[in-house]
Amino acid sequence: MSTMTTEGPTRSRRTLKLRNTLTSWSFILPNFLGFGAITLLPVILLFYISFTKWNVFGKATWIGTANFTRLLHDASFHKALINTLYYSALHIPLTLVISLSMALLLNTKMRGVTFFRTAAFFPFITSIVAISAVWNMLYSPDYGVINQVLRSVGIDNPPGWTNSSTWAMPALIIVSVWRDAGYYMLLFLAGLQTVPRDLYEAARTDGANAWQRFVNVTLPCLRPTTFFITVILTIGSLKIFDLVLVMTNGGPGQATTVLSQFIYKKGFLENDYGYASSAAVVLFLISIGITVVQFVVNKKRDES
């Protein structure tokens, strides 16, 4: 706006500035009205509700930190939290390794690479309901394709998958890695494009083999990408829900009940809004906490 500030007397400058502000807001407003009411307001309201006792018909009663104390002693909340961490602890590294491997494979000049890039991304845009229906059948203990294959390679007692409390969670993790890997592969591919070619050439003339080039050139150059992907993957893992709900409904028993599902159950099935909100605050704080850590670490690295 430099042209505006240098010309004209003060009053018209002020009018211009006001008009500029109004014009700016006219662009933002159609979206902001919706965004403010439907996203921003609920996020703020969440904290208030978490300190109240509130159900659909009743009024909100302020009960201080009682909901949070209750969470501390709630065994099913602990189970949900542990399941969420269990899921994340396997889902994050597995997805990272597999999507990075696929990206490296696709970054070569082989035939069929374009086809595979398209194919690998497809599970990510397929609905959870359809995916769950198919995989539940593939997992079927007696006649399912997976156990038939396992038996044919000599495993006589293959897992009961979603029917078994031990194997239900790994079964879910396999599906979610299968679903997500193509998406993260695309992000890694975008990151790989930014690695300078001449670094590889230099490494090659220094006699570095493929593995050494990967460790000393690719990985360091990819670090911002890897870091970013780890963070969104972590947030994605913490909020896992739809897949669990549709595939196992948290079962058998509580074997696959996760944090988001705990919130859903307390809120929408038991109408215990206040208590559900306090669990949601925990999810909120973990997610934001991780994002903040990312910012701090990122900044530190930029400075050093």
């Binding site: 042209t3 700016s24 807001w25 662009f27 933002i28 159609p30 979206n31 009205l33 965004f35 009411a37 439907i38 996203t39 921003l40 307001l41 609920p42 996020v43 309201l45 969440l46 509700i49 509130w54 659909v56 491997s101 494979l105 070569t108 082989m110 069929g112 595979f116 398209t118 194919a119 991304f121 497809f122 599970p123 845009i125 397929t126 609905s127 309901v129 359809a130 198919v134 059948m137 079927s140 006649y143 394709v145 038939q148 998406y183 695309l186 992000l187 591919l189 990151g191 493929a210 969104i232 909020k239 944090l259 988001s260 919130i263 859903y264 809120g267 909100s277 949601a280 999810l283 934001i288």
Partner: protein, 269 residues
């Protein structure tokens, strides 16, 4: 040697990715008692096309598709229109509080929806908007995602371009309409496709907000069909194929825009 290993890996990965889809499509064309056989029958014989008629008789597939189509189109339009409009304000105009406001937009992207779905539901209940298709429209049309994606794109358009247009006397709306919109067609395509697919596939939102059967979306309907006809494996697969088919077609045509959209929004968070 490396090349052979590479091709082997590529083939193995392709099979791993695609087999579930292949099995789904194959099973949708089988008689019910041929879905689970030992050994697995990969090619249906005879091919039972009738499943694709029966599913429409046994379920409200047409209603579900109509509702989902309505939501996907309306939400996509609003998301693209209000999102790109707001993104222009954030990217090309300067005003007090701009950066703080944009931070609020970005911030909510990092907050899982599950964390604030309850206060949101309470607000919708208070204004009596639950159990309507419009609740879903309100819920998804004004997301931060569209603003974010479009701003990423507008930021890449040189500021000199809009400055020059301003000097030539074009209003801000004129610059948006005549310069930015035509330039941003690829970004709009990305945003439209991603939004459309998200709405089409959404399960949790409709589960919470759409109670009456007449306003169910395809995901809700399909899931209820699966629990109702839980032994009709072939028909369940038929329904699943139908729910995936529109997305597959859109994806086949717009693959480039999906990839571009993911790459631009993903990487610069």
């Amino acid at each position: 040697m490396w090349r052979v290993l590479g091709y082997l890996a590529l083939t193995a990965a392709s099979i791993g990715v695609l087999v579930p889809f292949f099995w789904m499509a194959a099973s949708s064309l089988k008689h019910n008692n041929e879905v689970f056989t030992i050994p697995v029958k990969w090619i249906p014989s005879p091919v039972v096309w009738h499943n694709y008629v029966e599913i429409f008789v046994k379920s409200d597939m047409i209603t579900w598709i109509k509702n989902t189509l309505f939501l996907s189109v309306v939400i996509t339009f609003l998301q693209v229109f209000t999102g790109s409009f707001a993104a222009y304000g954030f990217s090309k105009m300067r005003f007090r509080g701009r950066d703080v406001l944009f931070l609020a937009y970005i911030g909510t992207i990092a907050v899982p929806w599950q964390a604030y779905m309850i206060p949101q539901f309470i607000i919708f209940s208070k204004i009596h908007l639950t159990n309507t298709l419009w609740a879903m429209v309100a819920l998804q049309a004004f997301g931060a995602f569209g603003v974010f994606l479009m701003k990423q794109f507008f930021d890449s358009v040189p500021h000199e371009l809009s400055e020059a247009a301003r000097v030539d006397g074009l209003s801000e709306y004129g610059i948006y309409r005549r310069i930015m919109l035509p330039l941003s067609v690829p970004a709009i395509a990305s945003l439209s496709l991603l939004t459309f697919v998200n709405v089409w596939n959404d399960y949790l939102g409709p589960l919470i907000y759409l109670r009456s059967h007449s306003i169910w979306t395809i995901q809700l309907g399909l899931n209820s069909f699966i629990s109702q006809y839980n032994a009709d494996y072939a028909l369940i697969m038929t329904g699943s194929v139908l729910s995936v088919l529109p997305i597959a077609i859109i994806f086949a045509f717009g693959q480039r825009y999906f990839v571009e959209g993911i790459a631009t929004t993903g990487i610069k968070g």
